[in-house]
């Protein structure tokens, strides 16, 4: 089982790296926030995998904090930090 955990965690990390493209690209602030939101959930999954792989239960608490922070961040963004007028969708 160890090999499954330890191969899926880097795979998720790779996903996260590819998702950075959306943060750079935008086009709206909300798109960047959504990418950050996906990073939060991916980090939770990675931490849970690593907690199981290394038998370190404390990492589950870290995952819990990540889940909580991701939610708080998104709500704070919508309530406080979303700039006014936005451009539309991608132009292709």
């Amino acid at each position: 089982m160890q090999i499954v955990y330890l191969s899926l965690a880097p795979f998720l990390l790779l996903n996260l790296g590819v998702g950075m493209w959306r943060v750079f690209r935008g086009p709206t602030a909300a798109d960047r926030m959504l990418a950050a939101q996906l990073f939060g959930t991916t980090a939770v999954a990675m931490l849970l995998l690593l907690a199981q792989a290394y038998g370190n239960a404390a990492l589950r608490d870290v995952a819990l904090v990540f889940a909580l922070l991701a939610a708080v961040t998104a709500v704070a963004f919508v309530q406080r930090a979303w700039p006014g007028q936005e451009a539309d969708h991608d132009t292709e």
Partner: protein, 99 residues
Amino acid sequence: MTLSDYLSAALLIAGAVFYLAGTLGLLRFPDVYTRLHALTKADNVGLGLMVAGLAMQAESWAAAGKLLLIWLLVLLAGAGVSYLVARGALQKGVRVWKR
């Protein structure tokens, strides 16, 4: 590897596939609303399958319960955040993508 190991590995890999789909959707979909759709699949189903796979391997019922609670928190947060972002985008006049 026992049968439950195989089942748990299958659940974990299925979860990873949903994460991949979520990331690809986030990159490929054309506007905020469709990207929300991709994101929530990764959040809810991807993490759900991962948690199911890991809970089968957890060392105690308490650990499995904690995994379940983490998933429920992410579900709740995901639902609230999707609603807030979609409503905010509509109010700020982000137009819905049409072909």
